[in-house]
Amino acid sequence: MRFAFHRFWAVVLKEFIQMKRDRMTFGMMAGIPLLQLTLFGFAINADPKRLPTAVVAGDQGPFTRSFIAAMRHTEYFAFTREFPTQAEAARALELGDAQFVVNIPEDFSRRLLRGEQPSILVEADATDPSATGPAIAALQNIAQNALDRDLTGPLEKLRAGRAPIRLQVHARYNPENITQYNVVPGLMGVVLTMTMIIITALAITRERERGTMENLLATPARPLEVMTGKILPYILVGYVQLTLILLAARFIFDVPMVGSLALVYAVALLFIASNLAVGITFSTLARNQLQAVQMAFFFFLPSILLSGFMFPFRGMPEWAQWVGSCLPLTHFLRIVRGILLKGNGLTEIAPKLWPILLFMTLAMTLALKRYRQTLD
C-alpha cells in the first residue's frame, strides 16, 4: 500500500491530541529543558570564588593586613572568621565551616623585616579538589606580589630575587588531590537517590495502573502499613547498593576511610527513607508509570547538579546554593565525605543531620496525605 498522506496526518493529529491530554508529559517537555538551562547556564560554576576562609592572625601588623587584602583581592577568598588559636580554626575546617585557614605566625613582621622569608601556612579542605584547585593556584602569585606596595624605599631589597614570604599549602584530607576520593563517596548518595526514588515511584503507580490499588484500599490495611511495608524491602536494596559502593571505594579506588562505617550506615537510613518518601509522593501524583519516571528525573537532575556532587557547591550563586540546601543529597554528601575522609564523628555530623530529618518528615507527611486521597 502506498504512503497516504491522510493516514499519516491522522496519526500526527492523534499524537498531538494525546500529548495535549497528558499534561504532565507536556509540562515535562517544557520543564526539563528550562531546568537544565538554568542549572547549566547559571548555577554551575567550575571556578568557585569567595570561599569561606578563616584567619589565625598571630601578627596584626600592616604586612598581615596587606597579605589578607591581596588574598581577598583575588576574589577566591572571603574572610569570614578569625580564630585566636590554630586548633579552633582547624575545627572549623573539620566541620566544613571554612574551606581555608590562613595561619600568620606571631613573629611574621619581625622576620619579614629581617629578610628571613617567614612562612604563612594555608590549610585547605581538599576533599573536593575542584573546589580548592583554582584558589590554591591563585595563592602562588600572592606570595610573590602581595607586599609590593609595602616594600618600597629602603625595604625594596626584600623583594629582590626570591619571594619575601614563603607560602606553605596543606591540602588536608586529600593531600594528593585525588578526585575519586571526592566522587566515590558522593556516588553513594547519587545512586541511592536515583534508584530509591524511581523504584518506589513505580511501585505504587503500578498498583494504581493495574487496579490492584483499589483492592488494597478496600482491605483493612492502613496507609501507613502499606507505605512502610512497601518501603522496607527497598531500604534493604538501598543497603545492598551502599555496601557495593563502599566495597568498590575501598578495594578499587583506594578511598581512605578514616571514620566509622557504622555511622555511615546509620545516616544512610535517614537518607534512604527521605528518598523513598519522595518516591511515594511522586507515585501518588503520577497517573502512569511513565509520569512517575519523569517526575523522578525532575527531582534527580537538581539533586545531582546542585548538591555539590558534580560541581563545587561553593561555586554556585547564592540562589542555587539555597535550592541545593533543600535537597537531602547535599547534606548526605557532606556527612559521608566528612565521615570517610575527615573522620567526623557523631558530634561533628549532628548539625548536618537536621535538614535531612526535616526533609524526611515533610516528605513522609506529604506522601501519607496524598496516599490517603488516592481514590477521593
Binding site: 487496579g211 483492592n215 481514590l375 477521593d376
Partner: protein, 311 residues
C-alpha cells in the same frame, strides 16, 4: 454495633457524592436485608461503582447518613472494611503473583485465623489444586473471576459487594457463579451486585435501578415492572423494519424493539399507545398481541425519564 436494627445490613439515607461540580450519586436511600441478593442496575456511569465505593469506605460521602453492617458509613469505615468482601470491576489481584500467593496475601491482610488451612481449603474448593503455583495473570477470564470471588470470601465477610462480576464470563461459568452466590446467601451472606444482564437481575431477590446518580425504582422484579406501568404490544409479520420506521413516529410510542421475528412496541400511556397502533392493527399482514412488559423495556423507559429529570 451502632445500629439497633439488626435486620438491615445496608441502611443508608440521602447518600451523595460529588466530584468537583458533578454530582455522581444524588441522595440515594437504600435498605438491604440480611441474606438478600440485591441487584444494582443502571447504565454505565450512573454512579453504581461510586455508591459501592462509599459503602465499603473507599470514598467519603459528601452528605447522607446511614449504616453498613451496623457501622456508621461516615465514621466507622475501618470496621466496615473488616467485614466486607469487595470485588472490583476490573481484576484487581496481582497478576505477577501466583494463585496461592494472592490468596495468602489477602488472608494475611485480614488476619484470617489458621491462614494456611484457609488458603488450602479455598484452593481445593476452587478446583485449583495442583496449579496453585500458576501466576494469576495467566488465568482465563472465568478463572480470574473465580479467584477474585474466592479472595473476597477468604475472611468470611458478612456482606459481599460485587461490581459487574460476570462481565466477559461465559454462560456456564456465569451460571456456576450465580449458584454459588445463592448458596452463600442461603447461609446468611448479604450480596449487593451490579450487572447489565437482565437475566442476572431476575436472579436477584430485589433490584434497584439507578441512572444519573438517582435511584429511579426498587423492589422485586415484578414490583419494578408493575410500577413502571408500561404497555407492550408484540407484532409479527412481514416488513417489520419498515413498520418500525413508521410506528416510531406515532404519539405514545416510546420504544420499538425488534426481537428476532417479532417486534415489541412499548409506551407509558396505554390509551395513547393503542390509538397509535390502530392504523396497522386492522391489516391482515401483521399479528398483534398484548404481552407483559419486560424488565429491559422498563429500564430503557426509566433511563429516558432519568435523563429528562437530569436536564
Amino acid at each position: 454495633m451502632d445500629s439497633a436494627d439488626p435486620d438491615h445490613v445496608i441502611d443508608v439515607v440521602g447518600l451523595t457524592k460529588r466530584f468537583g461540580d458533578r454530582t455522581v450519586v444524588n441522595g440515594i436511600d437504600l435498605r438491604v436485608k440480611r441474606g438478600e441478593i440485591f441487584g444494582f442496575l443502571g447504565p454505565n456511569g450512573s454512579g453504581k461503582t461510586t455508591f459501592i465505593r462509599m459503602l465499603c469506605g473507599l470514598l467519603t460521602p459528601e452528605s447522607g447518613t446511614g449504616s453498613c453492617l451496623g457501622y456508621d458509613v461516615l465514621r466507622r469505615q475501618r470496621e466496615i472494611r473488616e467485614h466486607v468482601g469487595y470485588m472490583t470491576q476490573k481484576f484487581s489481584f496481582y497478576e505477577d503473583l501466583s494463585i496461592r500467593e494472592n490468596l495468602d496475601f489477602i488472608a494475611r491482610l485480614y488476619a484470617v485465623p489458621n491462614r494456611r488451612v484457609a488458603v488450602d481449603a479455598t484452593i481445593d474448593r476452587l478446583g485449583f489444586t495442583g496449579r496453585s503455583q500458576q501466576l494469576a495473570g495467566q488465568l482465563s477470564g472465568g478463572w480470574k473471576q473465580r479467584l477474585a470471588l474466592a479472595a473476597c470470601l477468604i475472611h468470611s465477610p458478612q456482606l459481599l459487594l460485587l461490581d459487574e462480576p460476570t462481565a466477559g464470563v461465559d454462560p456456564k461459568a456465569r451460571r456456576e457463579f450465580w449458584d454459588h452466590i445463592h448458596q452463600l446467601a442461603a447461609e446468611g451472606l448479604t450480596v449487593l451486585i451490579t450487572t447489565h444482564y437482565m437475566d442476572e437481575a431476575e436472579r436477584c431477590h430485589r433490584i434497584a435501578y439507578i441512572a444519573y446518580g438517582s435511584l429511579l425504582a426498587q423492589g422485586t422484579v415484578e414490583d419494578v415492572v408493575a410500577g413502571a406501568r408500561l404497555t407492550t404490544w408484540e407484532v409479527s409479520g412481514p416488513g417489520l423494519p419498515a413498520l418500525a420506521e413508521e410506528i416510531r413516529k406515532a404519539k405514545g410510542v416510546e420504544q420499538v424493539v425488534p426481537f428476532g421475528n417479532t417486534m415489541h412496541v412499548t409506551g407509558r400511556n396505554e390509551a395513547e399507545l393503542e390509538s397509535a397502533i390502530v392504523p396497522w392493527r386492522g391489516g391482515v399482514a401483521h399479528r398483534w398481541a398484548r404481552v407483559p412488559s419486560r424488565l429491559e423495556d422498563v429500564f430503557i423507559s426509566l433511563m429516558g425519564q432519568g435523563r429528562d429529570n437530569f436536564k
